[in-house]
Amino acid sequence: MDFASFPLSTMIFLPGVVGLFLLLIPSRAVAFHRWVSLLASVATLALALFVFQGFDPSQGGFQLTEAATWLPSLGISYRVEVDGISLLLVLLTALLQPVVFLSSWGSINDKVKGYVVAMLLLETGVLGAFLATDMFLFYVFWELMLIPMYFIIGVWGGERRVYAAVKFVLFTLAGSLLMLVAILYMAFQYKAQFGVLTFSYHDWMALRLPMGEGFWHSPQMLAFAAFALAFAIKVPVWPVHTWLPDAHTEAPTGGSIILAGVLLKLGTYGLLRFNRGLFPEAWDRSRGLFMVLAVIAIIYGALVSWAQKDMKRLVAFSSVSHMGFIVLGMFAGGVTATQGALLQMVNHGLSTGALFLLVGVIYDRRHTRMIEDYGGLAAVMPVYTGTFLLATLASIGLPGLNGFVGEFLILLGTYQNHPVAAALGATGVILGAVYMLSLVQRVFWNPLVHEENRSLSDISWREMASFAPLAVFMVWIGVHPTTFLTLSEKAVQKLLGG
């Protein structure tokens, strides 16, 4: 078979197939599992770059379509394709995965085989969910992520890992099961109108469910709500965010990176792709509601971050705040804000991924995440301090780094129509600087009071190698965001205008 003609499918299934193969290898061969999983993720990244190279950004629609019949009697087919929106997120996923594997070499020493298998299966689920344009297929990939993540948190996590893992599973399923009913409902509504049973996203774009007078009581609003709940839990939008701090804090470093970097983006991606694409009227009607929730998330997340004593928990709550920005940008409407939101998804993946990675670096040395256990690390670990500062500045949106571009575009686009929301959102930027810089101060600059911190070794080459790719893109997006914005511009215009 010629894999070059099916780059998307090859990319989606390569990690999963390698994962299943590793399942058959005895778990004693730790080095083998580590290397093969790393190579598989690098190969996936190469395939993602191959897709990128074959992608034509001047077209707004889907490209590189790969389709096959799957369950013809139910109107279900296998269909994966890519547009500018999903391409960015696929590249992000493929970039983060090798970082995750590399970072786990120091922290995961027990049951390595299970860990890499779960991670590889997870990557297949994530890539598939970003690329599927058949709703049934999308749902299968969406749920496929659940089990590996449950294991990653539950087996290799921190002290309260089981609580966090079960909470993660129940929250995620609570949303997605209702989405399943909505998917079925849509399929039969389509059949009633057009006489064909299909689960194709493209076909469904032609379907407009009726809107009623009231806010809720109409088919479109209810279906919209079912989809939105599933995605809002994943994002997570306040007030369904409570699973996130637990899951992020308890997960092992790699799990946190993948959760924050990629899995949360599936929520915002789903909102944009499916809620915006399939229910435009309901989207307009609930715009105000979601913007309010987003602003609450921005401010609430930032304030709660400020109060944290646990570094990982602090970064986790900062995610709530940052994801609020993305939701704000998407619901504010307009190409600028949406483009900003999309870019911010990538930015958040990079900078929060980097922060979790770097917190993991000192956790591996000191086995504590409490801020008060550190202080004065700048003198002991100078290089590490530099990397942490870079990730921090990227996260709080220093001009010249990636976070600035995304936040600026979101606020610019939001201000045009909703100045109050933009003003309130902007306070989140200030608060972000407050809690992140105070974290840096307490960990790195304050006097070195704990003697055991004196002997900490600086960041190693392996850890540096896992951080470097993230740093490159933080600067690249900050200096020349056009590279990435042009990729998605046409697709966003098509989605918003179509």
Partner: protein, 476 residues
């Protein structure tokens, strides 16, 4: 003259004879006992082959037995379940020193009873099958006769079974009074003007079948019987009689469903389905014994399957058939693992005892975890396909609310299914090592179920077409 049509019941004849031979062999050449299991498996596979080799002639014996595609589906399902239960039974019996021919004979006869029931187009033939199945199971439940729990299980199943048989007969008698016939296809024409008598008759029939299916509120026997019976028998019991009873119910609903009664059928079946899904899943949360937990989960699953029947139509029945196939693999994999993990039959099978076993006994644990996820309905397992199809049928029949209740109930169920996985992989192993590792028949069975759960979950097209073809015969 009535043709004998013996070849159309060749699988049943094979199994009945083989059962008799095994009982005799046990009496005369007891040293052959270790080979009995394999002889039985070979017989079951031969019967399965015969069912597919012999052309399906349609209704035979004046229409009393429907040897058609639906019958073929039912037989395949029952025989596969039987073969899998046998694989689980052999290590169990050799461990407990009870490799008696009677066990295999009774299991085969029970299977024949279920096959007869599932294919019967006439209520008396249904009754004959039902009794053959039940009486064999009364003995099998109490097979571990030194164990009080096992005796209790046999006794309970006997009392409840006899009671439900009586209810069934009474219902059949009343239906005869209302319709003047017991042949199901003929009933369809005779019930054009439904009377209170017919309604009562159908209610009694449905109740009797609901007893067999352990549907709420006829479920109370299930946890005790599941817990007390020898685990391989529980595996069989949880799958085969339920499937057969569900098919009988599907036939009754399809034939005795005139326009005026449809509303009542819908209400009654929906009430049973909702009650079972809600009660089964909520009660399962509180269980500490995994067999009791699976009993409650079985109650809930028959509720899901019933959702497909509430929707009527071929679409729903096809969903039910796929659901049954899915249920077979996931449930038997689970019980086989439970049987492999239990070190003594006297003690309860606590979920707690699974702690840390996931890394010690990887194959069986993997199968158990996968079956838990499949029972919870998470893709890409066949359990998801089954749930998808029955909920799809409900949405198609404009009963979105029923699908919503179904998914919420399965959300609750995730909690206790996932808890089993938690004990397997996330709890530390207690100090003592397991007394034995994984016997190879159990490994084989686990792998077979894993392959089936995943393959049918990713490529359900073949199973689906088979089910749709079979269900087309009951559609309206």
């Amino acid at each position: 003259m009535i043709a004998l049509w013996l070849e159309s019941v060749a699988p049943e004849l094979t199994l009945v004879l083989l059962g008799g031979i095994l009982v005799l062999l046990d009496a005369f050449t007891p040293r052959w006992r270790p080979a009995f299991a394999w002889l039985t498996v070979a017989g079951v596979l031969a019967a399965l082959g015969l069912r597919w080799l012999v052309a399906a002639p349609g209704p035979v014996w004046v229409g009393a037995l429907a040897v058609d595609t639906l019958g073929r589906f039912a037989d395949s399902y029952i025989l596969v379940a039987c073969a899998l239960a046998l694989l689980a039974a052999d290590p169990y019996l050799s461990r407990t020193g009870a490799r008696y021919g009677e066990f295999y004979g009774l299991l085969l006869w029970a299977a024949v009873g279920a096959m007869t029931m599932a294919k019967a187009n006439h209520l008396l033939v249904v009754f004959v099958g039902l009794e053959l199945l039940s009486i064999s199971l009364y003995v099998l439940n109490a097979f571990h006769r030194q164990n009080l729990l096992s005796l209790e299980a046999g006794w309970k199943y006997l009392v409840v079974g006899a009671f439900s048989s009586a209810v069934f007969l009474f219902g059949a008698a009343l239906l005869y009074g209302a319709a003047g016939t017991l042949a199901l296809p003929a009933v369809a024409g005779k019930l054009s003007a439904p009377s209170p008598l017919a309604a009562l008759a159908l209610a009694l029939l449905a109740s009797a079948l609901a007893f067999k299916l352990a549907l709420f509120p006829f479920h109370a026997w299930a946890p005790d019987v599941y817990q007390g019976s020898p685990t391989p028998v529980t595996a069989f019991l949880s799958v085969v009689p339920k499937g057969a009873a569900l098919l009988v119910l599907a036939r009754v609903v399809a034939s005795a469903n005139p326009q005026e009664l449809t509303g009542r059928w819908t209400a009654a079946l929906a009430a049973l389905a909702v009650g079972s899904m809600v009660l089964g899943n909520l009660a399962a949360i509180a269980q500490r014994d995994i067999k009791r937990m699976l009993a409650y989960s079985g109650i809930a699953h028959m509720g899901y399957a019933l959702v497909g029947l509430v929707a009527f139509g071929a679409d729903g029945v096809a969903g039910v058939l796929v659901y049954l196939a899915a249920y077979t693999f996931m449930n038997i994999a689970a019980f086989a693992a439970v049987s492999a993990f239990s070190e003594s039959e006297e003690e309860p099978h606590l979920i707690n005892d699974l702690s840390g076993q996931g890394w010690e006994r990887p194959v069986v644990s993997f199968a158990l975890s996968l079956s838990m996820f499949a029972l919870a309905g998470i893709p890409p397992t066949v359990g998801f396909v089954g749930k998808f199809l029955v909920f799809r049928a409900a949405v198609n029949a404009n009963m979105v609310w029923l699908a919503v209740v179904g998914v919420l109930a399965s959300l609750v169920s995730v909690f206790f299914y996932v808890r089993v996985v938690y004990y397997l992989y996330m709890k530390p192993l207690p100090k003592r090592k397991p007394a034995f590792s994984e016997p190879w028949p159990v490994k084989l069975l686990s792998l077979a179920c894993v392959v089936a759960i995943l393959t049918l979950g990713v490529f359900p097209q073949g199973l689906l077409r088979f089910a749709q073809e079979a269900a087309g015969l009951l559609g309206r």
